[in-house]
Assembly symmetry: D2
Homo-oligomer: 278 residues x 4
């Protein structure tokens, strides 16, 4: 028996659930989970079902597509390890959390490699038998540097997600467009507060009582892509900004790993610069 | 156009969503929200839909019932104010939170009255023009006292929920059975920790770093009914148990009001001493 | 035996704790709680002690002042009910939470009155036997309107704090300066995110997964005064901005009441547009 | 200039802060942080100061001890890496979190070794160049097995803390007494709820809406030692107990690492089966 994750988004109209569920019934499929959401403001329908049964993915997709209005998007996905590349700079915590989870078998992913603009993390990453590529930006323009990274990325086949685990350089539109809704970033603030550089310093200066972290897809506007997950911790006047940074790492790594897990399980729809998450 | 909340629970089998959604489609209903859950362990299916359209509640219920297996439970509810009675003892906070929300129009409820075993809260409640009934337990056995309360309750018609807003006496099986899954209690601990009397004192003695509150339906085993909602706050060594009690009140009132809101919106299924909440 | 709250802030130097505690010892005072904090960045020392003993407040203050460097600020406060005025617009929840807590005896305050630019809340407030003053802004310039409010405020004696319980109009510098660090506002967002109008709408549009509320002192820059307290709740794609607003009210009222409590207990120092809270 | 952490606990009486701070002043020490707490119920005084200056630890300790009542405990600690041994069974997450933090330089500790009753984690731990000792319980009585572990532990010198990173066997009184208030355990529930085996299964069966984790010192009563740190996450009806277990791991590792950090920084006092944490 095969298992499929079926993701549908469509313009909302009556009968969509009926049409999809009638196919499930017809093909004698067992529904494991079923989630729907209608965005009334934008008139959009979202559905994610996990089903089991004896049917080919291609046949199932065709049946659903035929039953739904033309503009609908239908994905029938067989659960399988996804291919990810991690980009980092110098910090271990977020990267390390992903590597340990991977080791533990918690992440349904192949980690094809780690790319960094420094070599600091190489010995750490190599403990895990994962290829490490130092691509220094030293002496290069932003475009040139990215060109070298894009070149390296092109050597991997079928990258599902690029995870920016505290990669501290801004990506150009060209890079972002090449991997639309495939780049997951962790921003070390509770967005949209403290956009930009050194958010912990900004948070300290502002005297906030809570700090946070935000995992989001990267789009062309820095720190303004669709938010996937956010979490916070309480701080007080006794925290220096270094203390905030240190404490913030706990949230950063948990939030990034959580967002990655949602992505690997095909739980995220992106629409109108937001995420719908089942 | 009428709006209905449809609540279904059934033994799980293939085609349930299809059968229900085909009726929605046939009757040209607009689905506002739709939630399903299958408890694989117990083989139970739960569904809550909010629909709009031109159909009678009775007809809709009949159609769904006919389409589903015999043992299924189908409720078709027209959103309307529900009738509630509040029971309290001496503390204002949980009771007051409900009365203020009611005043604000946030609760879809008629508050038929407040019953207490003391008269302390009478002047407060009467500010809100809500009938207050002091039924003292002084000099009465538990059964006698409850008899008088049951008598008073019987004078109201169609009580949907009884809310125990810090009512500090234990109810007998007879009382509980008379209002099965209709009595919502707030327990001032993070159940199942600190069952029984004076949980804040217990929590203080144990040196916990977190305290909480639990809203639950009342059944015959004290503090062991189905949990609806829980919330916590952090404490530390500097909290006396009185401090914990004082801080705990913030959580108690929020959790109880939240649970009441879920009940008033027909979002709760009770099954196997647990709640399924959409 | 008298009880005093002693608040000291000074330029940091060696021996401050020694000098203060030697006076406590000399005067045979019992220390109930004692908190110190040194802001290393700004070289500032903060101390709050609660002591008991047989000494006059004025004598104690003089002794401490003499022992410390000239520029130090010393406050010796006898715990007593503080005088507060609440300003509101149309919403009940934050105002109601304060009134119920007041009724419950939880707030060490005299509520001198409630001022609103609408009469909507009058019947609610009058239940609590608290004077209500409608000062409409209708047809008035901002300055004129504020002049009338300032006039009303001047009729009360010794206002300790003005609480803006969802007062939805911006105060001018003139007003703010008249009550420096005495005006406590609740902003319905997790500042500094979503400064300005309709933060829930902004939060919805941004697709955040967490919303919050911030209590702060009001200064001349809108929403940029020293933060006292912040709290958050999780939301998801299924929340409309009205849902966010409704859920947000729970946090708003808890945060505002908490900030007020801290102020009434003389626990807040304001320095460098931040708060130090013991 | 030397830096010291000074930890004092004493029977409460007037003048303690004065006596200690006068020594700081006399020896011209710079106070970096200073925390005091008085447990009024038990009449106990706790103080932790971090100071800098030109003085020997031994002299400082002697001075303070002489100044305070005889029964007082005074510790003057020079910040230095502490020696820890980790015990684990089969799970990676809590152990891995400590190893990555150690690698990152976040933990002020030498990890002398990892002891497990299985060899499953050996290849993982050896990546970090940390000695791994499999001491199987296979075919051994509890006492015999522990004897072998105690033997191994005795080979290390000066163990400051033993960290049970999901070590799934119960320790006997003999073992516990040998390392009193030196064994830090993570219990995968929000203690005191769900004491004993398989707490996630218990939590699932009870239908809770929140699960948690508790780090505590181990004493002779299973899961009843002094609590150091607790944290929770929200769950709902859709979580199987395996889902709870999976999600719970995030909390477990964060809570355990946090407790370890507090211990390494000498921030914890243990008294009356509770912890005072500065």
């Amino acid at each position: 028996m095969a298992q499929y994750r079926i993701l549908i988004d469509a313009n909302d109209e009556k009968g969509l659930v009926y049409k999809v569920s009638s196919i499930f019934f017809e093909k004698n499929l067992n529904i494991l989970t079923n989630n729907e959401f209608v965005d009334k403001v934008n008139g959009k329908f979202f559905m994610r079902s996990v089903v089991e049964g004896d049917v080919e993915a291609s046949e199932l997709k065709e049946l659903i597509q035929k039953a739904l209005p033309k503009a609908s998007n239908v994905n029938v996905i067989e659960p399988a390890k996804k291919n990810i590349v991690i980009m980092a700079t110098k910090e271990i915590h977020a990267l390390g959390d992903i590597l340990v989870r991977h080791e533990e078998g918690e992440l349904d992913a192949n980690i094809l490699g780690v790319i960094s603009n420094y070599d600091n993390l190489e010995s750490f990453v190599s403990k895990f038998n994962i290829p490490y590529f130092t691509i220094s930006h030293e002496g290069l323009g932003r475009a040139e540097h990215e060109e070298k990274i894009l070149q390296k990325l092109s050597e991997f086949e079928d990258i599902d997600y690029i995870v920016l685990a505290k990669y501290m350089r801004i990506l150009t539109p060209r890079f972002v467009e090449a991997y639309e809704n495939k780049i997951i970033n962790i921003h070390h603030s509770f967005l949209p507060a403290f956009i930009g550089a050194n958010p912990y310093k900004q948070a300290y200066d502002r005297g906030v009582k809570i700090i946070g972290a935000t995992a989001h897809f990267v789009n062309n506007n820095l720190d303004e892509g669709p938010i996937i997950s956010q979490e916070i911790i309480h701080v007080n006047h006794a925290y220096s900004w270094k203390d905030m940074q240190r404490s913030g790492r706990n949230v950063e790594k948990i939030v990034l790993s959580h967002a990655l897990k949602l992505a690997l399980e095909d739980r995220i729809f992106v629409y109108a610069n937001k995420s719908v998450i089942f």
